[in-house]
């Protein structure tokens, strides 16, 4: 499956980024102002307007290669939203998208770093390392950053799972934002993000976030969908770029994701 390329900086987009979500609601309005509404979730559209400046020869070549591979607006590609958290249900680790190893226990209603009670306590009562993770349908070869708020009274470390890489981070009794970032030498079309717990440890976690960039941005809560769009297309059949000089290109493009296609 083709996918939208990253820039050499590891980012997918440059500022300004504009995104529009469009829903479809059928409304029957009576004379006196009462309304009967019917939602049509299948007709939802998400659009991005991306502007690129100072692209290098390689970056432009990657964009052009994708545009030719998908033949303009004809066929889809995977687009990872540069302004969103790629993980679904970032605060509901009990949802089925999260895969917890057997015997890993999750306790809800723990105080979170933003003053709520949306954190989870993840406990590993076994003698083996156990993992809580979510897989997304995105190329594993890109540059990703995983971040999660974590704290623990008893465990001095937490393992962050980013594809085949497992990285230890130090944690303490105060909430800290643990991050793991980098690029993997992996050509698979899926990648997992999560945490691994040492035997006998218990850690409070909140706000899982995966982003297609080399560093973490502010936390963004997600629900049933994250920022992975496997059915995205170029809106237009034309890709125009401007060369301001050798190795200095700019272009603007629109990407659209339509659920019903």
């Amino acid at each position: 499956m083709p996918y939208f390329p990253q820039l050499s900086s590891g980012a997918t987009g440059q500022f300004p980024v504009a995104r529009q979500r469009t829903a479809r609601t059928v409304v029957n309005q009576s004379w006196d102002g009462y309304q009967v509404k019917l939602a049509d979730p299948g007709a939802a559209i998400t659009e991005w307007h991306l502007s690129f400046e100072e692209l290098s020869d390689q970056e432009l070549a990657a964009l052009e290669a994708l545009f030719q591979a998908v033949e303009g607006s004809l066929t889809p590609f995977t687009f990872l939203d540069p302004a969103d958290n790629l993980l679904a249900w970032s605060e509901q680790q009990s949802e089925p998208v999260w895969q917890a190893d057997p015997l890993l226990t999750l306790t809800v209603g723990i105080s979170d770093p933003f003053g709520g009670t949306a954190a989870y306590r993840v406990s590993n009562p076994t003698g083996a390392t156990l993992i809580l993770q979510q897989s997304i349908n995105a190329p594993a070869s890109l540059d990703y950053c995983l971040s999660v708020y974590a704290c623990s009274e008893q465990s001095p470390r937490l393992w962050l799972v980013r594809g085949a890489t497992i990285e230890a981070v130090e944690i303490g009794p105060q909430w800290t934002r643990a991050t793991s970032a980098g690029q993997l030498q992996d050509t698979s079309d899926t990648i997992s993000f999560g945490v691994a717990l040492d035997p006998g440890s218990a850690v409070n976690v909140f706000g899982f976030q995966a982003e297609v960039q080399p560093a973490a941005s502010l936390y963004k809560q997600t629900a049933e969908t994250g920022g992975v769009y496997p059915n995205a297309r170029f809106r237009d059949d034309a890709l125009t770029f401007t060369a301001a000089g050798p190795g200095r290109y700019s272009c603007e493009l629109d990407i659209v994701n339509v659920e019903y296609l």
Binding site: V17, A18, Q20, T22, D32, K220, Q221, A223
Partner: protein, 117 residues
């Protein structure tokens, strides 16, 4: 519930509130008029322009739009002018767009309308 900003505010200046009546007018040949209400009461509408939002605040509004499925869903809205709670409100539009021109520089506009109950 409609999301609030990190400051706790619902709106930023310049905020706009609209009161809506629905009056039918029958004008006769001699110029006189007969007017009558088509709706039983006034409806409220709030236009909420938001600027300099951070990514987290934008994500909250995006989630709010998605969970409401555009103008389909209903929610309660507290009028920041007088604190009155309007229990049956919806988003006015089926589209939600924002622009991020830099870090913590998100911009969007939402319109909330009161539904007839």
């Amino acid at each position: 519930m409609f999301p609030t900003l990190k400051t706790g505010a619902v709106m930023q200046y310049p905020a706009k509130r609209t009161l809506l009546y629905n009056t039918d007018i029958i004008r006769f040949l001699d110029g006189t008029e007969q007017r009558f209400r088509d709706s039983p009461s006034v409806l409220h509408q709030w236009t909420i322009p938001l600027d300099l939002l951070d990514e987290s605040e934008l994500a909250n509004f995006d989630q709010f739009f998605t969970s409401n499925q555009g103008k389909f869903g209903a929610f309660s809205f507290t009028d920041p002018w007088d604190g009155t709670i309007y229990p049956n409100c919806s988003l006015m539009e089926d589209a939600f767009s924002f622009t991020v021109s830099g870090e913590m520089r998100g911009k969007t506009t939402l319109t909330v309308c009161e539904n007839r109950t």
